[in-house]
């Protein structure tokens, strides 16, 4: 890939990240607005979140970011076999995150906590409905981004196995950038839906 083409790709991915960041920022602003309106219900709703599952997922996602960053480093060093292994590690951690997230939703649905009105879970009125609607919407949107990231990592593994990793350094860097951005979004979702239990 020519340097000009690589620069154009990097710019395109940064613009994509900017648009994704603004999409999530709109939802963060919505959350903040409703939290200001229903502080007690939001704080109590967070106590229904499965905190240990969110915590384990946070640790997992940070580890996956490290794995993918290390894969880029190994590509710079020209160690093709090691690159595929680190990418595989990042993908395995991403799959673990998805599995835990789905299990967590399963727990919530079992308790009757669903998005929007009509749930039969703990009744905190409109505040709780809004909290869990945003919870499903934002964690769901984040999960979709993570699944896209997993598909990209799988594509990269196939690419790197077929040729020298150094030849695919730019796609590797760009997927790593996207993956780290998805991790960064989770760093805010984790406190918003699991840890902010005060302020009632």
């Amino acid at each position: 890939m020519t340097p000009e083409r690589a620069h154009a790709w990097r710019l395109a991915v940064w613009i994509l990240i900017a648009s994704e960041a603004l999409l999530f920022a709109g939802l963060f602003a919505l959350y903040a607005g409703y939290r200001a309106e229903y502080p007690g219900a939001f704080a109590r709703s967070a106590t229904h979140s499965v905190q240990w599952m969110g915590g384990v997922n946070t640790v997992i996602l940070i580890a996956s970011s490290f794995a993918i960053a290390w894969a880029v480093l190994e590509a710079w060093r020209g160690r093709e076999r090691v690159v595929a292994r680190w990418l595989g590690g990042a993908a395995a951690l991403g799959i673990a995150f998805v599995a835990i997230k789905l299990a967590e939703w399963h727990v919530h649905v079992g308790e009757g906590i669903v998005a929007g009105a009509g749930g039969h879970g703990p009744d905190e009125g409109r505040g709780m409905q809004l909290f869990f609607t945003l919870y499903y919407l934002m964690t769901g949107l984040h999960l979709v981004h993570l699944v896209v990231g997993l598909a990209l990592v799988a594509w990269l593994i196939a690419l790197v196995r077929g040729a020298r990793a150094a030849h695919h350094l730019v796609p590797l860097e760009l997927v790593a950038l996207y993956w780290n951005f998805v991790d960064l979004i989770w760093m805010f979702l984790w406190p918003m839906f699991y840890l902010l239990r005060g302020g009632a």
Binding site: G33, M187, L195, L196, R197
Partner: protein, 79 residues
């Protein structure tokens, strides 16, 4: 980017996540999230050594998010 920097970034992010968990129930975890985002963007996303245009895009993102937050806060505060 050196291996040592990546390991240090990883350890810092995990420690901050732990601190956030311990501070559950207070407003501190949101402040910790901003620090984590800064650390991750600087080293994992390599903004520290990125092209100036990419850094400008990152700054534009921050500016628009700040604008959105200020608008939301003003709306909530003035009701």
């Amino acid at each position: 980017m050196s291996g040592r920097t990546l390991v240090l970034t990883f350890v810092a992010l995990e420690l901050l996540a732990g601190a956030s968990w311990l501070a559950s129930g207070t407003g501190l975890p949101i402040a910790v999230a901003f620090v984590q985002a800064l650390v991750s963007a600087t080293w994992f996303m390599e903004l520290r050594t990125a092209h100036p245009v990419h850094r400008a895009i990152a700054l534009a993102i921050l500016f628009f998010i700040a604008l959105l937050c200020a608008g939301t806060a003003a709306d909530s505060g003035l009701r």
